[in-house]
Amino acid sequence: MDKSERLQQTRLSQLVNTFGLPRLIIAGFLLFLFIVAPIAGADLPTQITNVFNRFSWNAVLVLAMVPMVHSGCGLNFGIPLGILAGLLGATLSIEMGFTGALSFVMAILISTPFALLFGGGYGLLLNRIKGGEMMVATYVGFSSVSFMCIMWLMIPYKNPSIVMAYTGVGLRNVFSLENFYANVLSDFLKIDLNPIGINLVIPTGSLLFFALLAFGMWAFLHTKTGTAMTAVGSNPTFAKAAGINVDRIRMLSVILSTWLGAVGILIYQQGFGFVQLYTAPFYMAMPAVAAILIGGASVNKASVGNVIVGTILFQGLVTMTPTVMNALIHIDISEVVRIIVSNGMIVYALTRKTEGGK
């Protein structure tokens, strides 16, 4: 008996080692929520639909973390910069009068040059402050969002569906995408089980689009340049000695990350149905960072698998806690849980930075 106990213990510790303790705890908690949900009176299929939706909104933003982690620039706390490029694409596309699915395509096309430009400048900056990327990135995110708060008022937008209703000057805080690209992806090949009495909807189009980008990222990391990117992140001196232009690879990763941030926010908006401007991008970086860390990434290693697992766990937690907890104890603690989990996860990952490479 002693033996089997010990065997169990080693198995458990192996599981903890391979899967990671925090992930195990969160996955366990999520499972608990799923079990408790029906008991607490929440409709499980609806909950699952919510998790699917939230996953499809956020996954690309989390994917945007991957290139910079690979090139050793750390977690992209500066993702708001990419988001701003996306917002410029979105507003300009609508301003130019595009509607429907075309407005989504145009938003991506228009945001791309902005993402390249912003990412390029951001990359130049990060190449000058090697070692302190994450801290500087945070401030880049903050200051650029503040700057754009001014610009949203200054740029002479005219389209009545997005400017302030009374004055006609400056953009609104929030505007609906109903006539533009709300749900253009998620309605594509949508699987809706409501007709047969189950409240389950799967946003196939959004998931496919994410799958496409994720496959692209996976494939990129298997190419020559992708391999170089991983090596730069793993040991920049080694990469330099192997004749790689370390700064250029880092720059590429930052641009890639920024562009994915731009596309990510557009996908978020099409699922959410609204565009949020001004200070809204502030709050996008932390959940994305937390999600990829929960997924098992470290400050210098991340994979597409980490993105998928992390987004499901984090968004699952965020979606499930309010309904289930509210039903159980009638207090809204969801926000508290979200903040504790996301910030706690980031702190946890940063303390393990040196060990992260394992």
């Binding site: 494939a219 190419t223 340049t225 080694f238 330099k240 790689i244």
Partner: protein
Amino acid sequence: MRGIKKDFFGNQVLTDINFTLEAGQVLGLCGENGAGKSTLMKILFGMDVIRETGGYSGDILINGEKAAFNTPFDALAAGIGMVHQEFSLIPGFTATENILLNREPQKKNVISEVFGDRLNTLDYKEMDRRAAAAIEKMGVEIDAKMIISSMPVGHKQFTEIARELSKDQLKLLILDEPTAVLTEKEAEALLDSIRGMAAQGISVIFITHRLHEILAVCDKVVVMRDGHVVRDVPAGQTSVDDITRWMVGRDVQSTAASIETKAEAADAKIIMSIKNLWVDMPGETVRDVSLDVREGEILGIGGLAGQGKLGIPNGVMGLYEAGGTVVFDGREIPLNSPRKCLDSSLAFVSEDRREVGLLLDESLEWNVAFPAMQIQDKFLKKLLGGLIKWRDERAIHQVTQKYVDQLQIKCTSTTQKARELSGGNQQKICLAKAFALEPKFLFVSEPTRGIDVGAKALVLDALRQFNRESGVTVVMISSELEELRQTCDRIAIVSGGRVAGIRPAADSSESFGALMVSQVV
């Protein structure tokens, strides 16, 4: 010291060291780099590294009593002072303040009466007096009021020594290469002050590469080699030549030189010609090196640490800022650009395995194949007409497996992480990485540093085989002269950032030894 033994991770660096030192004696400690001098002194001074790496065995007896120092503070309390090679002074403080730092004489004042001793005022008059006394002991003139950062190097060195001397309980002073940074005149003054200290009953252990200084000032000389004490003689009964021979040679006369020295090497064409090379590599500055390398030979570059031998490959390969001209195979190679060098079929195995040589967190396959993949587009599958260069995992696995077999690399599989291998096997991976590039010319820097004897032989054999069979020109940089003599055709000795001389490997150890110390700066 009696029977001192120390190993780093199973790598024996000190074996059975015994020597004694009497009060007021000056002991000169010399030996090649890696002979174990510094490790021995660290043990004596109770440095943290020793304890962290598993402690040592043997006893240190001071005045007949066994002493065991766990921290430098213990050693200080026992009256041992040490002046390190690198300065540990506060640049913005005056000499006096540095000399008496944290041991300042204090006066009570009103505030400290209330809040405790930590708020006592410093007694500057007393400090000046003590600092002056300490400087006086050395017998040199330094302005005690001068700020450290505006002092010449020599005076900084004296300030450090004065700091140790100002400790009343000082019985033994360890000086680790104190004259390395001094001009000849300053060194003279320092030697005088060492004599002065000895006259006052302080014992001194004096480590230096300048052998004539040892003869000038020491009462006895201890020569170390490969972690052994090879000679322990009174200084009066020896000479620079003797010491040199003890330092470098195993059996000076009988050592067979290179197994098969190439006779025709002399008229082979020159494949690389280095002219007036300077390299700004910290600690290994190259000042003015001109060197011709003949096609197909193994050229050794030797010399003492810090003399610039490591700077040569690092400079040519563009890893450190460099200037001068390097002509390879009839074409001039631009410096400061690693890519250009690698494109011209040069390869480099760095002395810094862990920092430069390996991707510690990646698989062996990546480590071996990466440079060849990036530089020569090997191990890639071209998709969509070359638009996408896809990593060819199978080819990578095959080439890694080939070198794992060929070099007898001990690993669980080719996907094991490089970090998990032992030093010797890591070194072999570094070689495999260079071999995979199939270069025409290979720089190998310190290929046997920190690896055991068995692995050493294998690495050297692999290099020689690579040279003989593939006709690759190899330049090997090593601190171990014997290793160079066994492997190379010719050996260039670098001293003071310049080439002091090039000799056939069959030359006697003494002649190399003399070259090594000829221009030491």
